[in-house]
């Protein structure tokens, strides 16, 4: 019962968080500076998502095969590999390093 309540509560909260922007801002003209800030939310958040996933709380999740895998992704990207192929290169590099170490 507790579990179901928690699931329902998280669903309602998540819905509300996403709905808040449109409910509050629709029909309102945003100030001119907001466009530039909004444009830079994407790189700031993406960088943080990577950092959080790679480091973990108090940096306890750092695994060097993951870092090597991400390096492989960058190399594949620079060699103009399409997105999925670049991701697969990272997966393969990480799996290989974990297998041999």
């Amino acid at each position: 019962m507790t579990l179901w309540f928690a699931i329902l509560a998280v669903a309602v909260v998540s819905f509300s968080i996403k709905a808040a922007g449109p409910l509050l801002l629709t029909g309102r003209q945003l100030p001119a500076w907001s466009g530039a800030v909004i444009a830079l939310l994407a790189p700031a958040l993406l960088a943080a998502l990577i950092v959080v996933e790679v480091l973990g709380p108090q940096w306890t999740d750092v695994h060097w095969p993951v870092l090597a895998g991400l390096a492989a992704v960058v190399v594949a990207h620079l060699l103009r590999a399409p997105m999925l192929l670049a991701v697969l290169a990272g997966v393969a590099a990480t799996a290989l390093l974990r297998a041999v170490t």
């Binding site: 968080i17 996403k18 800030v37 830079l40 996933e53």
Partner: protein, 239 residues
């Protein structure tokens, strides 16, 4: 300034929706894998079969669902668990605000359309300069949702060993996608590079003192670089 309801030709809108679907397929594959691990984790923690799947249908957010499972397993009670999931999803507040002007219809319809805001779709729909492609956003998300739910069901039913994902290197999938999306974003301008740098350093530092959700939310200070006027013709739009 973009008008609130852009008048786009139907054909063009359909093409952009299809472009979103194409992007979404790759992301859906990644979501599926992550969902399998969520299903398996939740099953191990005694959620049963139905609850994890319902959770994926209703919440549809990997980070929040893992936060919920972790916090509930920690035994701190329901309120802190719900709060930690809410904090993790706090980033969707500025992200939802950002897309509002690019969505269509009344505020309630836009609130509903804004449910399609998930990390990768939101970035894929970013046109630069703070404008978003509504059709691409919805298209990219609409294929990820069933994949997320199906993956959870598979994870619950098969319950693969927890270390399988790591052994196969699949824990790289999500950071890899985010990294590729970031590489695309930072090409737009030097300010994007600065925003990413500040976001990364801020979140890395915050991870030592606050929960993950607050670290993510705190990283948005990087976007405040936008308050400073660019010195050169560096307006944040893509080439």
């Amino acid at each position: 300034m973009r008008p609130p309801e852009p008048d786009v030709p139907v054909e063009d809108a359909r093409q952009r929706f299809r472009a979103g679907l194409r992007i979404g397929i790759g992301l859906a594959a990644a979501s599926f894998v992550l969902a399998v691990t969520f299903g398996a984790t939740a099953r191990t923690e005694g959620w049963g079969v139905l609850a994890p799947v319902v959770c994926s249908v209703l919440v549809f957010s990997g980070s929040a669902q893992f936060a919920l499972a972790t916090a509930l397993a920690g035994g701190g009670g329901v309120a802190p668990a719900v709060a930690s999931a809410a904090l993790i999803n706090g980033r969707f507040l500025p992200m939802g605000m950002a897309v509002t002007a690019s969505l269509k219809g009344s505020r309630w319809r836009r609130a509903l359309e804004a449910q399609s805001v998930v990390d990768a779709s939101w970035v894929a729909a970013h046109l630069g300069g703070g404008r978003f492609d509504r059709e691409r956003l919805i298209g990219a998300t609409i294929v990820q949702w069933p994949a997320w739910v199906a993956g959870t069901a598979v994870g619950v039913l098969l319950a693969p060993p927890p270390d399988l994902v790591e052994r196969l290197g699949l824990d790289v999938v999500f950071p890899a996608f985010f990294l590729l999306l970031l590489l695309g974003e930072v090409r737009a301008s030097r300010r994007a590079v600065a925003a990413a740098g500040i976001g990364a350093v801020t979140s890395a530092g915050l991870l030592w003192v606050v929960p993950t959700g607050i670290a993510l939310l705190g990283a948005t200070v990087g976007a405040l670089i936008g308050l400073f006027r660019p010195k050169i013709s560096d307006d944040g739009s893509r080439p």
